[in-house]
């Protein structure tokens, strides 16, 4: 501490440690006092499955209603919230995926049903006042491609509204803010209009 340079160096180096401790405290408290969203409602109105010519995988389009309030997720350490709608289903046991390959002794092994989660729609919510989601007749942003080539025959699906809280400092956290009340059946594919 005898010279100017020495004092600047000592103060700033201790300050950087103190800043890290401060940010660690912020991250720890916001992780321990993590808010959760009240479950909203998710309704899938219609499902249409198309088989496009020369494309191996079926593609599904859904229309859905969303009503959820994510405003409670904002705290002093919330930067933005990523909300996304996930469609979950199990593949049919004899789908074209490799679940049904012959075992070591040549016998057909009872296939495990591949579990799929496809993101159908998402939204980045930057401000708390935009956290009230009310969507009627929304359409999926991304086409739902059948992982096992076909939806028909796969197990019924459900849709879940998930969120991902992105803090200023700290850990990413995930949560669920609603799901469809009952499972829905996949319809047979129509051939797509060219």
């Amino acid at each position: 501490m005898h010279s100017t340079y020495n004092r600047i160096s000592t103060i700033l180096s201790h300050a950087s440690t103190a800043l890290m401790v401060l940010l660690g405290l912020v991250a720890a408290t916001s992780y321990l006092t993590l808010p959760s969203a009240e479950p909203g409602t998710v309704d899938v109105k219609t499902v249409q499955v198309y088989q496009e010519r020369y494309r191996p995988n079926e593609v599904a389009w859904v229309r859905f209603d969303l009503d959820a309030d994510l405003r409670s997720l904002w705290t002093w350490n919330t930067k933005q919230v990523f909300a996304y709608l996930v469609v979950d289903y199990h593949d049919a046991p004899n789908s074209t995926l490799s679940a049904n390959e012959p075992g070591a002794d040549g016998a057909i092994v009872e296939g495990r049903k591949a579990e799929n989660s496809i993101v159908a729609w998402d939204r980045i919510i930057r401000r708390q006042r935009d956290g009230r989601l009310r969507i009627e007749g929304g359409r999926n942003k991304y086409p739902l491609k059948a992982v096992g080539k076909k939806f028909f025959g796969a197990e019924p699906f459900r849709a879940r509204l998930m969120y991902n809280v992105q803090p200023w400092v700290g850990l990413l956290t995930y949560g669920e803010a609603g799901a469809t009340k009952n499972v829905l059946e996949w319809p047979k594919a129509q051939s797509a209009m060219q």
Partner: protein, 101 residues
């Protein structure tokens, strides 16, 4: 040239910023104490205000204040100069060569 030399010397003295031994000890203790206290206070302030930016502002302003208080060689940091022993008069000290500074 004499004026220039004087200016250069005083500028150098301010930049180098030597402070006395007591102040050095106190400055170090103050740095650790104030920065630790600042961390806790800025966390509490931000938590109560529910505003992370406010928390960081409290921390930054405290840091700037600490730098301003301790870095320049203020007169209060030189309030305890080391007492030097009075010069011992000898016969050689009266020679003219040692008088030129």
């Amino acid at each position: 040239m004499d004026i220039l030399n004087n200016v250069q010397r005083s500028v150098q003295r301010v930049i180098e910023g030597k402070i006395d031994f007591t102040a050095q000890k106190h400055a170090e203790t103050a740095t650790y104490a104030i920065l630790s206290l600042t961390t806790v206070l800025s966390f509490l302030a931000g938590y109560i205000a529910q505003d992370l930016r406010f928390s960081l502002a409290v921390f930054g302003i405290s840091l700037l204040a600490l730098l301003l208080a301790l870095v320049p060689p203020w007169p209060y940091l030189n309030a305890h100069p080391v007492p030097w022993r009075a010069p011992v008069p000898t016969s050689t000290s009266a020679s003219p060569s040692s008088k030129t500074d």
